[in-house]
Symmetry: C2
Subunit: 126 residues, 2 copies
Amino acid sequence: MVTKQFKGLPEDADLRRADSLAREIFSDVATKWALLIIDALGEGTLRFSALRDEVEGISHKMLTQNLRVLERDGLVVRTVHPTVPPKVEYTLTEPGLALRETVHRMCDWTRQHLAHIEASRHRFDA
Amino acid sequence: MVTKQFKGLPEDADLRRADSLAREIFSDVATKWALLIIDALGEGTLRFSALRDEVEGISHKMLTQNLRVLERDGLVVRTVHPTVPPKVEYTLTEPGLALRETVHRMCDWTRQHLAHIEASRHRFDA
C-alpha cells in the first residue's frame, strides 16, 4: 500500500504487514499468557512451579510452550542448576525487562478502566 | 496466596487472579488482533474495509469478532450512517485512545528489538 511506503519503515519492521518479522515477533508476545509471564518475571527470577503459581490459571502445557517461545526470542533465560533433582529457573533479559515496562502500563490501563468497561458491557448486553 | 493479599489490590483488579474482572478484560485486549486494530484506529475513524486493509492478514470473521468485543468493552464506537448502503465506521473512545499509547510502546519495543530477537532465534534453532 502506498501509505505504508510513505512511512519509510523497512518492510521487516512494519507491523501492519502480515509477512514482516515485526508482526511475527509481535504475535509471540501479544498474548495474555506471554504478557502475564513477563509481568510475573519482572519481580525477579522464578522457578517453573513458582511462576505457575504467579500466573494463576495457566496450564502446565501453555506455560511450557510460552516459556519456550520467550526463550527462543531471547526475552527469558532458562538456567538449569545441576542439583538432584535439577533446579530450573527463568529470568528476564534486558529486552524482556524493557517489554515489562510496557506490560506494566497495560496492566495499569486495565485496572484504571475496570469501571468504564464494566458499565459499557452492561449497556451493550442490555 | 499471601503475597497477593499484601499487594492490597481489590480482588477484581488483580490480574494474577484467574477469576478477576481485570484478567477478563486483559484477555480481551491482550491479543495481537485487538492491539493491531486499536493501533490502526489510533490514526482516526475508519470504515470496516479500510480497517481490514490496515490490519493486513486479519480475516473478515476475526475483525468482526474483535470489533464486537472492543465495542462491548467501550473501547471502540461503531457508528452506522443511514445511507444506502449504510456506511459503518469505527472510532476509538477515550479509554481506547489511552490503550493505544500502550500499544504504541509495544510496537516501538518490537521494532527496537528485531535484531536481538532474530539473532537469539538463530542461536536457539542452531
